[in-house]
Amino acid sequence: MPFSIDCRDKCTREINRLLREAIAEGHEHIELQYPDARHNLAVALLRPVRVVVNGSVGYYCGGMMDGGHIEVHGSAGWGAAEAMLNGTLLIDGNAGSGVAASIRGGVVVVRGDAAARAGVAMKGGTLLIGGNCGYMAGFMMQKGRMVICGDAGDALADSMYEGVVFVGGRIASLGNDAVIEEPTAEDRAWLHELLVTYRVPGPTAFRKVVSGRKLWNFDRREWEIWRAAL
């Protein structure tokens, strides 16, 4: 039997305290009922526990997590899993702006759509979006992998340093210094395994977006590129 916490009539601090106490007592499966889009739920989980949230969550759900596993049976507000180090966050619905921003590791899955600025400044880990995403996804990404099964908005992967973005649908426009290259056989195998593992229906083919590396070093002869980027 999972340990259950009814969020009604409780403030966020109280819910997170009960969650930490349950983890300290050794519970490995905890369910949150009626979260009603409260912010900062289940932040900074540092143990490999399973937290199931039955409803939508507000901002920063699962932020700063290191090794936990969270399932959200609903949608998530802004900044879900922000600055996560390791673990998994699975969102059944849609995600607000800035999902998986600055994550260093782990896996974030959004089965629906993601709003603007998905995966900005990712420093590792994987972000899988089953639907579409808004503009500026992957802005200044430094490491890690983002997979968008649907369409990507404007300025995709703008000014990315490193890392890779796979897109199954249309790309409204590429950001500065983002270039398209052919996925390798290894990429295809990894994508297939990822979609199967998380049971996300994806397209048969993906395009691969990487850094053109023109913004790595300043060169006066490439002034036009810099003018556009800045």
Binding site: N94, S97, D113
Partner: protein, 306 residues
Amino acid sequence: MCGIVGFLDKHGQTVPPLGQTLLTMLQALSCRGPDSAGVALFGEGGTLQLRLSVPPDIERQTLNEALQEEHLTLVRSYGAGVHDVRIAAEVDLTELERRIQQRLPGSEVLCLGEHISLFKQVGSPDDLEAAYRISTLHGTHGIGHTRMSTESRVDLSHSQPFWAHGVADLATVHNGHITNYHKLRRRFEQEGYRFYTDNDSEVIGVYLRDRLAAGRSLEGALRSSLEDFDGSFCYLAATKDQLGFVKDRFGFKPLMLAETEDFVALATEEIALRRALGHDFPVYEPLPGAMRLWSIHAETASLAAG
């Protein structure tokens, strides 16, 4: 920060009262703005009225004389110098407002129209409820605001919603910052528009009034504001029979939307929608650059047809 909310019942139902729904949503967002709170409700009209805020140093007799000379009838008095006044004759609204302020220095017309009822004050949504019992107010649709002041004074005048002076039954609430406010204000003032506060959000009402006066529809005005306003903004506009939202092209400010067969609800955060309306409907965030307008008659007609 600031929090904004909007609600439109497609059946025109009033159970629970519209005021209760708006209040619950604002209470859920009160941590986004502790400085002031307000609501504007729209319902069945009948008589042209204005709501007047009069400073405490003005005697009751002075008020009565001023109203009499302007052919205005006092309908109801609330606490804190707020009064409802009926307008008898066909008058130029801007001119009437100017004359009232001349006779009663420091007074302010909070709203004017046949359908609008606007309450706002310094303090939290709970304080607003304590002062005006807004949870008991009925209506078909309405908007609300809880403010965290960043640029201008914290007082009644600078609180929201803003009634768009000069246009009956038009009000706005805004979350964000219109960064080309000074430029727009200078232009509008040169064209003869008057500004009543130093709050950048006030320019939205002036802009909409200007566009409507130029023959644009409200929908056209909302759409063109996406190009004409700079900065971060989500704002709602409501008239006697319409409710709309505009979200800036960068998506700097959050706004969540829920639309079901029964209602349209908008709030800065989903937490407000869940607390006021429950769990059984999907909520999504409109994309940057989105705008939509609902007409209460169209919604009722489509329900009747469907």
